[in-house]
Symmetry: C2
Subunit: 363 residues, 2 copies
Amino acid sequence: MAKSLSFSLIICFIFGLVPGIWAQQQSPLTFTDARKLTLIGKAWNDGPFYHRLDTAAYPAIPRNVKYLATNSAGLAISFKTNSSKITAKWCTSRRVPGDNMTGIAFEGMDLYIRRDQRWQYAGVARPKTHDCSDAVIVEQMASGEKTCLLFLPTYDETISLEIGVDSGATLVPGGNPFRKNILVYGSSIVQGASASRPGLAYPARISRETGYNFINLGFSGNGKMEPEVANMIAPLPMDAFILDCVPNPSAEEVLARTANLVNTIRKFHPKVPIIAIESVAREKGNFDQDVAARVAQKNGYFKQEIEKLQKRDSNLYLISADGLLGDDQEGTTDGIHPNDLGFDRMLQKIRPVILKIFARYGI
Amino acid sequence: MAKSLSFSLIICFIFGLVPGIWAQQQSPLTFTDARKLTLIGKAWNDGPFYHRLDTAAYPAIPRNVKYLATNSAGLAISFKTNSSKITAKWCTSRRVPGDNMTGIAFEGMDLYIRRDQRWQYAGVARPKTHDCSDAVIVEQMASGEKTCLLFLPTYDETISLEIGVDSGATLVPGGNPFRKNILVYGSSIVQGASASRPGLAYPARISRETGYNFINLGFSGNGKMEPEVANMIAPLPMDAFILDCVPNPSAEEVLARTANLVNTIRKFHPKVPIIAIESVAREKGNFDQDVAARVAQKNGYFKQEIEKLQKRDSNLYLISADGLLGDDQEGTTDGIHPNDLGFDRMLQKIRPVILKIFARYGI
């Protein structure tokens, strides 16, 4: 009898206590579908929510470009909350990262919070699987409202996303913190390879640092200036265009397509600044003479074509490849894609040039 | 009959031609077991070839440290060849990279070649699977002998490695290009997370840049200054010690173990410089107040312990955490581990301090 009573007491104690501990450790959260918040970084808002482009509207563009437009590179969710904790549940496709990217960059997310007039890193959403994951992004924050930007996966399709905050906390759509629209068209480097997390892809970084809205139309391996792609991007309502699209096309394609791309944009935007950037050095070509010769030839053709156009187009600019990745050859992950050090060096070089040009146009 | 002759001719043509094309495309290679070449980066040469330590000699060290000593972080193969192409076949364990590392850093390799008095990036060995892979690292090189360093996987065990060069090319062991022996003891950050490739782990980078032989004893999550580990590293024949081991132990462990680690080293090395480094900022603590407080407490205890010891030890130095990762909070992959930009900033700060100290000792 005494034994049975003790046993009952123990059971009551355990069942009484455990939920208490549980509640303390796992404070209840409220989840909100991110589609109810503000999506930024899209060229315009048609089509599936987390796709960069409504590819159904462009039947003629190449298959690979269509696919890559479903990757959420450069997209971010803007929101405000007074929660002490921010979490996420999200699903991507089942694709797995390539050997030159982190899982966080490929299918994870990173959060920035505005403080002291700057966007500051707050946390990452680390993927646990290759499809659906949940993660605490940041917790134990001081009280007060936080203005947040959550950068979405750069190389995978974002299928769904819910943001979790403390029960009872506010969670409301934010504004678009970036002004004007600057399209960056290019390759995997623009899309974000090999930044270590989404917010370090160079269009995202330059947006946060300058306040301009750089829109990521980097198509990994497929930024080839096809006429159909030129037709797609040219009418977009942009204040400037950055063309960082030498890495993917062949030398012959650079020669054949550069003028058409610029001229197609000019039909819709007679006077906006177009800033062409030569291909970064392929460090793969430090010793591989064929690679070095191929990059030099492509940059040569690109420069030649841009310079021809510049004779009758005073709003067309060229940034040379010199020093874009520094001079110690440590700025890439794989001899092709900048690592975060390489991207930082690119930014140090192109940011002042771009800002000077924008100032000239009152952008 | 005519039909049969034609068919035979076609067959002969195909079987005659294909091997010719094959030979042209796939020039024949000769493979050499890397164990016949020169392994550098080991504290000393006992034990399994690709393990950093002969853990059988240290039965008392913690299980996790033993396991991590099998990871080939900081090891490199030194060789010379006049081949135009360098390839590798290698096997690692079946482990898969974590979400904060690239496959190349985790289980791949990168090659440097000496040119113009510098080590220059030449190529990567990209893993195709999580166990055995083969890869062309660099090809189409100019003629002449190349002095090579191939950095091994930082986070996986290297089980076997063969290096392939053009048939008929030379392939001979190289020397150890680095002088003196500087042990770097620490955490995942020392081991190499999250450099984008093995040669960008900071001990490897500082070796190439200074010519000193920095030896990587970073143990991911397990650089905790246990007395057994202090006993293991203290007798090693080193010219200096770098202690970058605040990130992993708890604050209480930092308090309890720092003096013992230094004192144990001092029993074997009464006068060599010991350079202690505070923990880099955890950017995870930008908004997470608990993380920020914990790192501050650990660095506070470490500083306090080192400063106490410095009163009677003039060969003990402390590098503070200030500015180690810069001030824009973009220097980590996940709020914990430096990315290549963060590592570059660490190097810019610690390299001149270390070199100044070494000069004082004639190292």
